[in-house]
Symmetry: C2
Subunit: 289 residues, 2 copies
């Protein structure tokens, strides 16, 4: 059985990047938020697959980190977007949290501060880019500047509509410097959001996560979907494609993001750096101490 | 059996803070680095206890984080010190890495940069203090400024000898602002360090962690122990006591630090914030959307 599971995992392993990739023109509305593309198992199988992936991704992450100590400049940037309650926090906790925290750098982008508002929208983003060897993670990102900003016209239309091109130019320069960009949209249904918000209201230990404004935002659901569609159409590029991860099933979303991490890290194939000292001589020297 | 394990854990639970606390005058040389104070189980039992603690600490961490969203100002600062190979990285990975990365902020202090050297030694430390609700973790810390700096006289003696008092004043002000400080010294033997350095040399996937200077530093072992003794004698205070964690057994060191975290968080007893909105009214409003 263990063997079956492994071969099942392997057969789907290479396909998540393909199954979830959303090139321009991909119709968001046609993607079922409860579907599990690239995986044909159930919740239990998905959780088992996630647990198995953890060691593999941890090993790859350590190699990436080690490579940078030998002069490597490569890094990874995982961008996570999604509507309220889409499960961004769960990705941080259960996927990102599964690898060594020393090799991960999470930045959570809130509404910009007064200081941040004085600068171009990419200013705070640049400051949060991952160092060589690191896996940077953005919980929300520069895409908010063409999502909530577009939906509520927080800046004039002429201004936000220029941002798609600015984002593409920016991401190209980031990729050129050795950063692999993985952009994930956690795709939930309006009904699923309702039930998650209901849970937050019904459980006193979840009240702190609730904001009455979350309900008001639901009136703009269609506008947000349109804004996400525009993001896919305009900013899913070869150097930084978007992946749409159906997220009504939390276990699948977590498995999918972990798998995307794994596939991109395997692509990078980071190497242990070669010693820049004489190993035998050092062993001899150590013995004498 | 499960019951036995639980009661065993409970009986030792309250005692780690007491068993490991090193008040001024505690003789470092008299503490066996292979001992397991506060715990009478073996490695397997220790690993099981660590796994069980994870959920408890995760829950407490989430409460602390939530509390800050309701206006709470409390936070935790875990300071981790120890000789090379003492297991600081393992603590980051296996203890700190076991809780939600969104609630944790690790700062790894290296040799100060040119910019940092222009400022007083506490300048970079202040910038890294945890925000309300967070568990800040220092991998090395301001104590390096009275450890390596003292051993190698990197600044004049008159200057480093003033720092103990400056550190106490600083830590008192940090505690006054609501931060619980937990200072941990991972205590290993010179022999154990030798075997860990040997492993780093014998395994190509560990070469990147090795630095020939680590062997040279072994000549100053006694000086470092003396410097740690001075730290305990001068900077183990009521608001920020030192805990000496025997660390020749990695499993014990990890269990002990997790347990120290747990005991201090339990002491804080963080509370879910009370909703500042009308729950029933919001539920009604949500239903209509």
């Amino acid at each position: 059985m263990a063997k079956d599971k492994k071969s099942a995992k392997k057969s789907s392993a290479a396909s998540f990047s393909e199954a979830l990739r959303a090139d321009p023109g991909t119709d968001l509305a046609s993607i079922d938020p409860r579907s599990t593309p690239g995986f044909d198992g159930d919740k239990e199988a998905g959780q088992a697959a996630l647990a198995e992936l953890t060691d593999v991704v941890s090993d790859l992450q350590e190699r990436l980190f080690a490579e940078s100590k030998g002069g490597g400049v490569r890094s990874v940037l995982l961008v996570v977007q999604g509507m309220d309650t889409a499960g961004k926090g769960g990705i941080m906790r259960h996927v990102v949290g599964a690898v060594d925290p020393q090799g991960v750098d999470i930045t959570s982008f809130k509404a910009p501060t007064a200081e941040e508002r004085k600068h171009p929208f990419l200013w705070r983003i640049r400051k949060a880019l991952p160092e060589p060897g690191m896996i940077g993670v953005f919980d929300r990102s520069h895409y908010e500047d063409v999502l909530i900003v577009r939906v509520h016209d927080l800046v004039p239309r002429a201004q936000w509509s220029r941002r798609y091109g600015q984002i593409n130019t920016f991401e190209e320069s980031v990729a050129d410097k050795g950063t692999t960009i993985i952009k994930v949209m956690l795709h939930i249904s309006k009904d699923e959001q309702k039930s998650r918000l209901t849970e937050r209201l019904e459980r006193p230990d979840k009240h702190w996560k609730f904001n009455p404004g979350d309900i008001d935002e639901r009136e703009h659901w269609a506008d947000y979907q349109e804004a996400y569609q525009a993001v896919i159409d305009k900013c899913s590029t070869d150097v930084a494609p978007w992946y749409v991860v159906p997220a009504d099933r939390k276990w699948f979303a977590r498995l999918a993001v972990m798998q995307l991490l794994k596939e991109h890290l395997e692509q990078l194939d980071p190497q242990w750096p070669v010693a820049d000292f004489d190993v035998a001589a050092e062993l001899k020297r150590l013995k004498k101490t």
